[in-house]
Amino acid sequence: MPEPARAAAREPVRGAARDVAVVAFAQSGHVRDSAATSEVEMLLPVLHDVLAQTGLRARDIDFTCSGSSDYLAGRAFSFTMALDGVGAWPPISESHVEMDGAWALYEAWVKILTGEADTALVYAYGKSSSGDVREVLTRQLDPYYVAPLWPDSVALAALQARALIDAGLTDERRPAGTAARRRGGPVRPPGEYVVAPLRTGDCPPVVDGAAAVVLAAGDTARRLTDRPAWIRGLDHRIEAHSLGVRDLTDSPSTRLAAERAGAFERPVDTAELHAPFASQEVVLRRALKLDGPRGAHVRINPSGGALAANPVMAAGLIRIGEAAARIRRGESDRALAHATSGPCLQQNLVAVLEGDPRPGTGGQPEEGQ
């Protein structure tokens, strides 16, 4: 517990709800191979950028939470090396999740909701180029029945893609094409089969990268930015870990997380979906009811999504950051951000973000430009 004097200086917590917003977002360039830089060297410019946006110094942050993976680094406690980047000595209030940074953001959000912090710095990074990410990710599978077979991440996503094709929800040539067209770019060439039915154009490029977000409560958020991206709801859910128990064409955990986050209460105008594989976007659009008339006015992945750049452990946090940045730029009033972790969309997190109502817009979602 904070000492009474410090606690008294904080805003009162109104019941369980306290307004918390994303007030800043920064990300690194995404590169194929970042051998020239250590994790902390890659992270430092991003941390400086996100703090500069708020005028805060690392020292001013109440709580810091990070997401990364020892298996990507090939070293135990690898996150401790990156802590140098936030000035961890003298001791700071700090935590880490061995997950995508979106889950670190969830922890930071809870920390602010409890009233123990007014500001939080969330960062995530992954240097998957130092190993073979397809092999590395097999180590998160059931160690008794599955991991000894070394099914790589593309193989498992391909099983899901085939299930979608069999169910008539997509076809073999469609995923890469639709993904590219939606972004207004040239249709991405389908490329060679990696594990059929997935081709290179349906699979995420292996990139290294880092991202950071600053969260702040109520009036602190209003002081730090003109247009905070308020987190109206945030929830994460998980499926059974055995792939053979699940219906791979559906994502009930995403739907439930969205429901609990309030995503279905009013339409959103933007959706940032973390679909590392093109076919997974089909599953997410269905789970989040973004297809059909309801989704006609929703800009899906204006950032390019994870198929453009999927820095493992940061790509989910980037979805939240991109959605928030769009609100802060005035390009969105209500946005949904989704993050995933594990094979075939095993774990899913949904955040609903909103900007304050603006005169003249009537709070209506605007058309994408």
């Binding site: 830089t37 250590s38 430092l44 092999e135 991991a147 193989a155 085939r162 299930a163 059929a196």
Partner: protein, 315 residues
């Protein structure tokens, strides 16, 4: 600007895991060519079996034997098998619902090409010649199109002679380790018998070895500063147990050494002096062996001991 170093890094470990009653019965069963599932709270037969219900999370133990033939529920064609995967030639990954089961098991299907595979096709288990009680006791599945056996799940005690209580699953991952710019500069200077630290532009402290950031200020350190070669023992311990693969006679002294000009102590072995004569404040210098990229140990310089006040911040 110096070149950034990289080196191969292999992480290899034989993971030893104990088995609960359900996993033990399943894996021991595979050794005996018998496939077991478990009945879930809703009556479904889950194969491979789990100890807790996938829906209710209740503990479940009701084992049943299912068939060794089944139906492909989804598949993916793997044109280039990778290390550790079940087959060396191109194969299909499959989820197979075994006869009598309500869920599917992941494995490989040996088929001549993707045109020979479809969802709904009949397949059967091809057992490994040598079975030890592992998922790899199923070598793979093979097509069994004519097979229309109807298999009803049979209750099974899960009891076998000589049941498995644990498994060992070796794992190896290969990395290219890169220490980044700051540590590369440090290691390259060390190969020239020089020690460099980096100065924080904010608090002015010199960190050695440098990691590219000041852990107090959270800013990049960019100015290189040569430190040492001499330094002061700030604290030490006496090692009495011989480490494996290390041919240093015990007892020996391991110490923290504050190199002259550095604001962080390094650690290294102290030699050239009886272990019981090492003391705080002892002045030492590095000893290099031929062709070595780092000092073998530090030895006394013969200078008078340093004042306690000169190193007390670095203990």
């Amino acid at each position: 600007m110096s070149e950034v170093l990289t080196a191969p890094l292999v992480v290899e470990f034989p993971f030893t895991r104990s088995l609960g009653p359900v996993q033990s019965a399943f894996l021991t069963g595979l050794r005996e060519r018998c496939v077991l599932g478990v009945r879930a709270t809703d009556g479904r037969v889950v194969v491979p079996p789990v100890e807790y219900d996938p829906v209710t999370a209740d503990e479940i133990r009701d084992l049943v034997e299912v068939g060794t033939g089944g139906t492909v529920t989804t598949w993916a064609w793997n044109p280039s098998p990778r290390r550790g995967q079940p087959l060396a030639a191109p194969f299909a990954w499959v989820l197979v619902r075994l006869d009598g089961a309500d869920t599917a098991l992941l494995h490989a299907l040996d088929a001549p090409g993707p045109e020979a595979v479809r969802t709904g096709m009949r397949v059967r288990i091809r057992w490994a010649a040598e079975r030890t009680g592992a998922i790899t006791d199923i070598a793979c599945f093979e097509p069994a199109e004519g097979d229309r056996t109807v298999h009803q799940p049979q209750a099974h005690s899960g009891e076998f002679d000589d049941p498995l209580t644990g498994i060992t699953t070796p794992a190896r991952l290969d990395y290219t380790y890169s220490p980044g710019r700051a540590q590369s500069r440090y290691l390259q200077a060390l190969a020239d018998h020089r020690t460099i630290g980096e100065r924080c532009p904010s608090c002015r402290k010199v960190y050695v070895p440098p990691r590219g950031a000041c852990p107090t200020c959270g800013v990049a350190t960019t100015t290189q500063v040569e430190v040492g070669p001499r330094g002061t023992v700030t604290t030490y311990c006496i090692v009495n147990i011989k480490a494996r693969n290390l041919d240093i006679e015990v007892p020996y002294v391991y110490a923290h050494i504050a190199l002259d000009g550095a604001d962080l102590a390094l650690h290294a072995r102290i030699g050239g002096i009886p272990y019981d004569q090492v003391r705080m404040g002892l002045r030492v210098e590095p000893v290099w062996t031929d062709g070595s990229r780092y000092p073998d140990h530090y030895r006394p310089t013969g200078e008078p001991d340093a004042d306690y006040d000169s190193y007390k911040e670095l203990i």
